[in-house]
Symmetry: C2
């Protein structure tokens, strides 16, 4: 369904000349033997379609192979290679085969008609003996590639439209990330995560940009540069390689049940800095100084870029949240929709997809909107869904994420050998690796130092080293760099980016277990003891958010939390009654706040919350619709309890693949704590 769109997107994006000319260049034409030609055409058409199917089949079989091998690894508890790394290796192998073993010379007949005209509009009408044929622009081809096109058809065939990544493959990955981000530890570390994601990414972008500019200058001096490379290009490179993607690391964290705060910091940062990097890179591209020299510094253009960054980011954020809230409201009001999980799931899926489309249609960034939509859906809509739909949506997006992620990584491996315009420059590559290292270091260490000044629960130095180490680059970096490979600078960036991704995924990803034991980062069980004393950490930010969310948003958008009329001031009574639908309290099960960790846990550790208790009280009395003044909704108490006991309750399981392991049983103290907690709230 996104096909037409994508085709159009690529046509438009890559269209670099546009002339308002309606010129006609007439040539003699023959229409003889048309019947014979028709048959030839049909056969050609069929053969090409077969070839296309076979190409896609290669990818599908690659993924199948990856799955079977992953299974073997999981089975053998082999943790050095993650599925994404494996997918890359298989992609590489296929790429080598396609590049060197198979050579399908393109059928000259497919391509050879050249038409020298004075414009390149998006649509071209070709008049052949009275019949009109419509052509759509696919893109510009550099002059030295014209021969290549006719050279190796196979390599051309396995090259996907880069917009496919942005419009089809990335959205489910990003949505899934947002949908999985729903855990208390994320909100407890929200301040730090935002600092890393925003300040850190911007700092990293500029550090890398400056460093690379130095490299580029050096290369120009010694004559190693074969084309233009401006400062904006360097900044752009900084933006795209600042998006971290520690899937590999997090998968191992999941398996080993590493410290929850570290997990939250890393995962939260990586999810949000993807969004920051996307908007940042598009803002850098939008930097257009007026006047002749478009690559000088100009304050106005700079300010405008900054404005674009703020506008696009906040717009995408607002749109994503808005769609999430609308979905939550629909699922809240159409309570009986719960009887039809299929309808519910379909609605959820469509609404989430429409966020992407709406954002793109409004000129914002769909991927960013989808991220915040996912987070909102997880926080509110998820609670309104029937248990079956909760499972269905989780599983659906898990599957889509898995397929898309592995597809991207195997394509990454493939493209190292099949991409035609690679520019591997040793100086640039070495510079890039140093810059990436430096950028990450300047992101993590100074920021951690500053954050530790405000945090009660300090980010210890071994955590900092681990975060430094876990700065892997992945799908987002790749998608951003392959999006535009028209110029020399972009081609060099793309080739270098590929190497950065390969290195970080294989080396850093593979060394995670070693790094963890080297840094003596223990798993969650014993760690809990240490951190019990550190409650109320970074509480002021969390506390404000929690109170607002707990008292107002949750009651309006979900069936959990206290009734609004208990939390709103007395003067707002009528409003509260109006917003709190009587049917919201129809049965008690609906009131269970399946919030917090249900998405991340496997459901075996069900928590009983402060707010659950409150709302069950309210419903237990069957006072639906009437104010429940007697029940004091002291959210501070609930918060305190949550902060005090939250530490022990959480076992991050993630939705990634977890091997049922003997050596990592859920910590036993959990249960006793939970019971104590329950008793406390009941008394």
């Amino acid at each position: 369904m996104g096909c037409k769109m994508n085709a159009a997107v690529s046509i438009w994006r890559r269209l670099s000349l546009f002339v308002l000319v309606s010129s006609l260049c007439s040539c003699p034409c023959r229409a003889e033997d048309s019947a014979m030609e028709n048959i030839v055409t049909e056969k050609k058409a069929e053969e090409s379609h077969r070839q296309d199917s076979a190409d896609l089949l290669v990818f599908i079989l690659l993924l199948t192979l990856t799955i079977l091998t992953i299974w073997l690894f999981k089975h053998r508890r082999f943790r050095f290679l993650h599925e994404t790394g494996l997918a890359m290796i298989y992609g590489l192998l296929v790429g080598v085969v396609l590049r060197y073993a198979i050579h399908v010379p393109s059928d000259m007949n497919n391509v050879t008609l050249s038409c020298n005209v004075n414009a390149s509009p998006a649509t071209l009408l070709v008049n052949v003996s009275g019949k009109f044929y419509e052509y759509t622009l696919k893109g510009e081809i550099s002059a030295n590639d014209v021969d290549d096109i006719q050279d190796n058809e196979m390599l051309r065939k396995v090259t996907f439209d880069p917009e496919v990544f942005f419009n089809i493959l990335l959205p489910p990955i990003i949505f899934h990330a947002g949908y999985s981000l729903k855990q208390r530890h994320f909100f407890r570390n929200l301040g730090s995560i935002l600092a890393y994601a925003f300040v850190g990414t911007v700092v990293s972008c500029f550090i890398i940009g400056l460093f690379m500019y130095g490299c580029v200058m050096l290369m120009k001096q010694i004559g190693h540069m074969g084309g233009d490379f401006f400062f904006t290009d360097c900044l752009f490179f900084g933006a795209i390689v600042s998006a971290t993607d520690p899937v590999t690391v997090l998968a191992i964290f999941n398996e080993l049940q590493v410290d929850a705060d570290l997990y939250a910091l890393l995962f939260g940062e990586s999810v949000l800095n993807d969004a920051v990097a996307v908007v940042l890179s598009s803002s850098i591209v939008a930097y257009q100084p007026e006047g002749d020299n478009t690559h000088t510094f100009e304050a106005m253009a700079m300010l405008k870029s900054f404005g674009i960054f703020l506008g696009v980011f906040s717009g995408s954020f607002a749109l994503g949240v808005a769609t999430g809230v609308v979905t939550a409201l629909i699922s809240f009001n159409f309570t009986k929709l719960r009887d039809f999980p299929l309808l519910e799931t379909a609605l959820f899926f469509l609404m989430s997809w429409s966020t992407f489309l709406l954002a793109e249609a409004c000129g914002f960034t769909g991927v960013v909107a989808v991220l915040f939509c996912g987070m909102t859906q997880a926080h509110y809509t998820f609670n309104n869904l029937s248990p079956e739909s909760q499972d269905r949506t989780k599983q659906l997006f898990e599957l889509l994420n898995f397929l898309a992620e592995n597809f991207i990584f195997s394509y990454m491996g493939l493209t190292l050998f099949t991409f035609h315009n690679h520019v591997f420059n040793p100086i640039f590559i070495v510079g890039a690796f140093l810059a990436v290292f430096l950028g990450r270091a300047v992101n993590i260490y100074p920021l951690s130092f500053l954050l530790n000044l405000g945090r009660r629960n300090k980010i210890s130095s071994n955590f900092q080293h681990m975060m430094m180490f876990a700065g892997l680059r992945g799908a987002m970096t790749f998608a951003l760099s392959i999006r535009d490979t028209a110029t020399y600078a972009r081609q060099m960036m793309f080739s270098t980016t590929l190497l950065v991704v390969f290195f970080t995924v294989w080396i850093c990803g593979g060394g995670t277990t070693q790094m963890l034991s080297c840094q003596k980062i223990r798993s969650i069980g014993p760690d809990g003891v240490e951190r019990r004393s550190t409650k109320h950490e970074s509480a002021w930010f969390f506390r404000i958010w929690y109170n607002f969310d707990h008292n107002y948003l949750k009651p309006i958008l979900t069936h959990s939390g206290p009734p609004l009329n208990a939390t709103l001031p007395a003067c707002c009574g009528p409003l509260a009654r109006c917003l709190t639908s009587p049917q919201a309290y129809e049965n008690e099960e609906q009131l269970k706040d399946s919030d917090s960790d249900l998405i991340l846990n496997d459901g075996d550790i069900t928590l009983s919350y402060g707010d659950v208790t409150v709302s069950t009280d309210a419903a237990g009395a069957h006072t639906s619709g009437t104010p429940v003044g007697g029940v004091a909704v002291n959210s501070d108490e609930a918060l305190d309890r949550e902060l005090a006991f939250g530490d022990h309750e959480l076992v991050i399981r993630g939705t990634r693949l977890v091997l049922p392991m003997d050596d990592s049983e859920p910590p036993l103290p959990l249960d006793s704590h939970r019971h104590r907690h329950k008793n406390e709230t009941m008394s």
Copy 2:
């Protein structure tokens, strides 16, 4: 991912001229103001992308609206309008708005460059001032549409590439149909279903073709025909409108729990005749007599077409079954894959998709292969999946089916007003309706008469009337007719087909409840009594298949059924031991044959089968790997039991939306029968 493929498909399919010429028509070129133009281009590109997103958003919101309205209907138990009918209505409304209310004149600049050359290759290189632009062929445009292209951009935008239906939307629908076809009643009526699907569809195709040829002759006589319309076109029309799609009817059958045999006959016929119609229509297109007049009768060409039909059908069948079997074998041997439902589900999905691609790559019909793959997966692979993956795959394909189906139907509604080349000819339309009626009648009544000669359980006349009435046309007919709308004949067919679909879905679909009560077709509860006496119906076909499947296929491909070494002759002992993996009998749960109705039932009615009992015995003794000679595997006994009790056990629930209804509780006798059955097999 299918994007590139689809684009290529449409390019190739619609390419009707192909000349091996490399002509160059040079024009003067200017490259001034290129920077300015670049900016203009970027803006245009962005705007176009926004427009595309907005267009797709229209469809997504349409589907959302459909879901909410369906929910309302379900809630109110309003059965006159099915979700697909509703989607069509919404599509129609949007179509009217797009057609008459909004008029977006196309930007002349996008389109206006015409280049008169003497060929129309798939790829065109345009040389603009030294820069090369690559264009891909989109298709032929009839001369009088050239103005239209520049007329209303909006209408063009909402038109999807017709191959999207075949390559993206139909496969999940058809796979889901195959995956849902797994029920005993289907196999019990296999002979009749095959007769209706094969003989009936071919007969219907030719009857409709002949009748329409009469109409066309008449139209030519009175001068109502504005273009060519050959006999092959008539036959093609016959083929495409012979594919029935009674989703609406079956949904109501589900809700009312109408007779299981009638359901199986209708559903089975509709699923298989889709496959027959696809292959039939492509065989008719392939009819190419040699010589000048390509529309005369020629025995050789006819035979060749027939050969193509047989070859493509059996090839697609074999491929679909083969992939299904491979998946079953993988899931059988990688038993530990069950620990990772995500991997399992992904594998299942990928293997099923690769069937489609493989079939297309081999020149067979992907849709047909996918159908048989789905049936095989349901029959074998499904049993090897972990319970969670069983749920996941069911739900995944249910969702995909739901979305794709409603998308197609809403697009159908939309296209009635937005399609540009409608040819509505009153005589042809009236003729088509008569022909469709006649074709269905000649399919059902004579065939039923003949089948009744052989059947013990006669197809009663009210069943025949119901089948006649339930001959709705749907997604497949639409997809086949929109695939090629290049010629006058095809355009007339497309317009007429749309009307046929609308009429049958709304009138026949809406009148199902009335028709059921009019024909006095009772629901399954009381009906069971009547049919209990008719066991062993059409048993010879079923018996052969059942024995083979039960004794050989099930043990090889699934963890259910008797061990192979018990069913194979003694001489095949080593082979049997080799094929029966010891781990297959590791635990008893795996041995449960979740076959039969699990896909269709909600799991609340679990059946204990003859073959389950046998295999549990074998495993219960923990004789894994050693021959279990003592356990007599009398499949005849199992079959008898199945035939005797199958009638009462089945409550068809379907995977379609079923309203929890007070008036349709599952028949109570079920339980007692089940217990009796259990006791019998235990003794």
